[in-house]
């Protein structure tokens, strides 16, 4: 298949690239490298079936012709800086909402009609129903990131209805695994490398989190396309389990053989708009026969192991 994948140099995008290339697809990748990492593509770039365009999705005239003869679009590009969204609200609007609009317009201009989209469990805001199913109550948004992802989902749905497209929208919990280079494991490892005796933790450490390993995520996304063929297909992606930030800290410290003093900033959430508990009902994706292979602990340790063996990613300018 001819695939166009946006955000190809990101954590999620680059892992998909590896997997999709191994299945004999031809891939055009787009990434503006604002948070993506060209190092994640070092192998793929050697593959003649992969073509990288280092470009921004806001540059519509540049990206439009790239969609010619594409069978399916994996749209993973996004402003992934959830935590500091309030410092630069325009980023979510531009890199998420408007970028998604441009992707859809480029698809429409080239008669491409299938799109896979990475949304987020954050779209449920502070869900009343936990675990939260796909058909939960109409949510109230609590973050600019969640708000922009709802805007993207809604646009995609309206394009499916209006222009006869088909979409697979995945609401991810946090994804872990090789190349995961932001979030708490990355932050903690970086801090502990500088000072293994003290660890500053945002919130009270009791924030509950549900994590999915990137390999399980990829399997789910591919399987869902096979077994769900509606106009708009929406799936929660996560594991049927959760941990507290404190659990994760304990696994990390045990693995590193250290015992730092934990200094909590306090409060029940890490930052304004941080959701204290995203835990998704995954019955729908489980009904496709998919089953995650990694436990949350496996995921945390696999991520840690990747970071330990690839300390170059610690130097990213965030």
């Amino acid at each position: 298949m001819n695939i166009l994948l946006t955000g190809c140099a990101g954590f999620i995008g680059s892992n998909f690239i590896d997997n999709l290339l191994s299945r004999n697809n031809k891939i055009i990748g787009i990434d503006n490298l604002s948070t993506g990492n060209i190092g994640f593509l070092s192998n793929s770039l050697k593959d003649k079936n992969f073509q990288l365009h280092q470009n921004d999705l806001l540059d519509f005239n540049y990206i439009k012709p790239l969609f010619k003869n594409i069978d399916i679009v994996y749209h993973f590009a996004a402003n992934a800086d959830v935590r500091f969204g309030l410092n630069h609200p325009k980023k979510d609007l531009e890199q998420n909402t408007i970028a998604t609009f441009n992707v859809l317009e480029a698809m429409r201009a080239n008669d491409v009609n299938k799109i896979v989209f990475s949304s987020t469990g954050s779209v449920y805001g502070e869900a009343k129903e936990i675990p939260t199913p796909e058909h939960a109550s109409f949510p109230i948004q609590t973050s600019l990131y969640g708000a922009s992802k709802v805007a993207c989902e809604s646009l995609i749905q309206a394009y499916c209805e209006g222009y006869d497209m088909q979409s697979w929208i995945f609401r991810f919990v946090s994804i872990l695994g090789p190349r995961y280079s932001h979030g708490h494991i990355f932050d903690f490892y970086k801090k502990l490398k500088n000072d293994s005796k003290n660890l500053h933790v945002l919130g009270n450490g009791n924030q509950k989190k549900s994590y999915l390993h990137i390999n399980d995520c990829i399997e789910a996304v591919l399987l869902a396309q096979k077994y769900s063929n509606d106009k708009v297909n929406i799936f929660n992606l996560g594991v049927n389990d959760f941990c507290e930030v404190n659990d994760s800290i304990a696994w990390i410290c045990e693995e590193l053989g250290i015992n730092p003093k934990l200094i909590y900033s306090g409060g029940d959430r890490g930052w304004v708009g941080d959701n204290p508990f995203i835990f998704l009902d995954t019955k729908k994706i489980l009904s496709t026969g998919w089953k995650p292979k990694y436990s949350i602990k496996d995921g945390v340790l696999d991520t840690l192991s990747y970071i330990k063996n690839n300390e170059w990613i610690l130097n990213r300018d965030e």
Copy 2:
């Protein structure tokens, strides 16, 4: 109070202007006059408490200083061309989503923290639950208009959470009354004026619609602000009743004393993305003590009467 009202020359905006001026408010109105009608402001423009800025909300540098010392924003400006949204998808993105972003940014820059927003029952897509309550299931969007309004609502909610603002979001059914100058009554009157013997009707005429009179709408919006003081206050606005397009045609024809042949285009909806039935659960707004004074038939006939007495609006370039 110092009020800033966007879309002030529109059907809804201009009626609010009249009402709010009669309550001794000072109002800055903004309208790009793309669909608004300066004629609707002929009285208000004589009032020294009203100041009109004929400008587009996309011109952020122009609008930003207008928000200085404003107590509350009524954000009614929108691309109201629901039906032909598919012909120009960028309009909803720009005039609804991005314009709303600019309004919120202008508020933030000027420490304005209250906003009233006109959303739509279209955000429920094809609701499974009818009448549809505010907490209905997470919807799937079926129109670009609905999608953009969800994007706006979500942005407003995230700004409320992140920047300590307060919002009243109203999901309107179709609103009727003086100055209503699009939609079926307007279209039918125009057609019947040219040819009173034949009337072409989109769909099969059985499309169910719920209409609210603008006067009832204004009362509800003002009352809701008084009795609902959450960070984000969401209300359906409509009447506890509905009619079919055919009912409305019968009332109009009776009033005009004509009996045209009805020619239906067929199908259960007027156009792609037209929702065959928007009927909102209004228990929440009714709990504030608000009660609509106009029946749907009253609203249709009052609108008809306005059009008959103001035929100049028929010449609008749509």
